[in-house]
């Protein structure tokens, strides 16, 4: 009886070793089908939620874990990007408050997978589910600005983000800067004023005040530039100074610069500039997006 048991136990160990080796060989045979290449089919999140028996949050985690495995691959194909969008979007449906996942999915889609439209779609979904999170409009705006070069949309979304709690202090400045670049400094001024009203921190208020003045200069510069161009159309040359514009009746008064600078016109190129502000409010592709603003 005892020897039989020992014999049986030995047999199990031996047999287990064989099972192990066979499985190893089969895995080798099956290799090539790595985890990222076998993108599992994921049904629509709305239906999945109904059949998840209340385990929707866990299901979202599982899909997310699977998606992360795909994110680990270096060269992501268009197909994989679309699968990834679908996976994260489904997981978002299952667990709408899992905002970190949606956010990271959105960032990944745009920065690694080069799928900006999908990224925006996903981030918008995340924002709908989490209207209080500034990150979503921020990254949507970033997508529009950096990849799609749609400054108006970028400014619009950055503006939404700038009004939300918890936003980083530079966001309002970035948004107003974007409005300036998009040719809408007026919106930028409105936005900055709105944020100024809601800000208590004195240091930030000072910065905002300065930014409002800069935006006013920007609005004036735009207006003057229009008149200079009209002047050129009528007289065939650029005016040499703002006073010349005034004398010709193009403007009713010389705009007062609250920053204490003067508006000057380059008679050769017709470019209007301000003596106090060396460069106009612009965000450059290279260099820092964070506005120095001082």
């Amino acid at each position: 009886m005892r020897t039989a048991s020992i014999f049986l136990a030995l047999f199990i160990i031996l047999d287990g070793a064989i099972v192990y080796n066979v499985q190893k060989r089969m895995d080798a045979l099956k290799s090539g089908a790595s985890i990222s290449q076998s993108l599992p089919y994921i049904p629509d999140g709305r239906y999945l939620k109904q059949v998840s028996l209340g385990q929707d949050s866990l299901l979202a985690d599982l899909i997310w874990l699977r998606a992360i495995q795909v994110m680990g691959t270096r060269n992501i194909t268009r197909n994989e990007a679309e699968w990834l969008y679908h996976a994260v979007s489904t997981a978002t449906d299952l667990d709408p408050k899992f905002y970190y996942m949606t956010e990271l999915g959105g960032i990944y889609l745009t920065s690694v997978a080069n799928s900006h439209k999908l990224s925006i779609k996903l981030l918008k979904k995340g924002y709908e589910n989490n209207p209080g999170r500034w990150e979503f409009p921020f990254f949507i705006g970033f997508n529009y600005f950096f990849y799609l070069k749609d400054f108006k949309q970028a400014a619009y979304y950055m503006g939404i983000g700038a009004r939300l709690p918890g936003k980083p202090p530079y966001l309002p400045f970035l948004a107003s800067r974007l409005y300036a670049q998009a040719g809408d400094p007026r919106y930028g001024l409105e936005l900055t004023e709105a944020i100024y009203e809601n800000t208590k921190n004195e240091r930030v208020r000072q910065d905002l005040q300065r930014r409002m003045k800069e935006l006013q200069v920007e609005i004036n510069l735009d207006a003057l530039q229009n008149e200079v161009n009209a002047y050129k159309n009528r007289f065939g040359r650029y005016p040499a100074s703002v006073q010349e514009l005034l004398a010709a009746g193009f403007i009713k008064a010389v705009p007062v610069d609250r920053l204490g600078g003067k508006y000057i016109i380059n008679p050769k190129t017709g470019e209007v500039s301000n003596t106090k502000i060396a460069r106009r409010l612009r965000i450059y592709r290279k260099g820092v997006i964070y506005p120095k603003g001082k």
Partner: protein
């Protein structure tokens, strides 16, 4: 010879069982439904019938393996017939092996009947016989053998209800162990990788037996893959049964 007698007896016993008949009835119903369902599709009618039939054969086979498998030992205990058997000159391993082989025989006839029906339906409606799906059926049978063995193992030390849950859980886990291996490959910690790999090789990998989709799409199945998965299944069954015998030998019947 004693094993053979018990096996034949078990076979007769299960074949007469009402549960077995109702399960086969539902499985056949599913096969019929696959024909109905296939009328909804555009083109590729045979694919719907093949998919639904193969899955139906497997799922109902698993249900039979588990629910009849756990009853093999437990029924004898409940009805106290085990006393009559073990008082005879029969070793316990012979008893267990006989029971297992009996049920395997039942499953074999079940799979054979179902496959014949499925082939018949398919021939009636599409006028072709997909011989390559027989390979999938073969591996389904091997998978059923593994599931039955696990049901027998659990029933040697646990109550019927718990055994059924364990066996069902093992079936589900067995189809997901591939993820463990993927996880082991991704993890950076050597300790975690060793643990994950151990679990992966320890649990039965039932996905090895899943070539349904490949045969339905008439993709080639390498012969060595087929042989290896069959031997994997049989070896695994032997290990489980040996463990069951080890446990069953120590069991006291009150």
């Amino acid at each position: 010879m004693k094993v053979y007698a018990i096996a034949i007896n078990t076979f007769k016993e299960v074949i007469r069982d009402k549960i077995f008949y109702s399960l086969v009835f539902f499985a056949l119903l599913l096969l019929g439904a696959s024909v109905l369902l296939s009328t909804l599709t555009l083109g590729e009618r045979s694919k719907i019938i093949e998919d639904l039939s193969l899955s139906g054969i497997e799922i109902f086979g698993v249900i039979i393996s588990i629910f009849v498998g756990i009853g093999l030992v437990n029924k004898e205990l409940e009805k106290k017939t085990i006393y009559i058997i073990i008082s005879k000159p029969i070793k316990r391993w012979q008893f267990l092996l006989g029971k297992y082989l009996g049920l395997s025989l039942v499953l074999l006839s079940y799979v054979a009947v179902m496959t014949a029906c499925y082939m018949f339906f398919l021939y009636m409606y599409t006028n072709k016989l997909p011989w390559q799906t027989l390979m999938a059926v073969l591996l389904i049978y091997v998978e059923l053998l593994v599931v039955t063995a696990s049901a027998v193992l659990f029933s040697t030390f646990s109550t019927p209800t718990l055994s059924a849950s364990y066996a069902l859980a093992l079936y589900v886990i067995g189809h997901m162990t591939g993820d463990l291996r993927g996880l082991a490959a991704k993890t950076g910690q050597a300790g975690a990788r060793a643990v994950l790999n151990f679990i992966y090789y320890f649990l039965p990998n039932l996905e090895d037996f899943n070539i349904k989709a490949r045969t339905v799409h008439a993709m080639p199945i390498p012969l060595d893959y087929l042989l290896m998965s069959i031997s994997y299944g049989l070896m695994y069954v032997m290990a489980i049964l040996s463990l069951s015998v080890l446990i069953f030998q120590r069991r006291n019947f009150k």
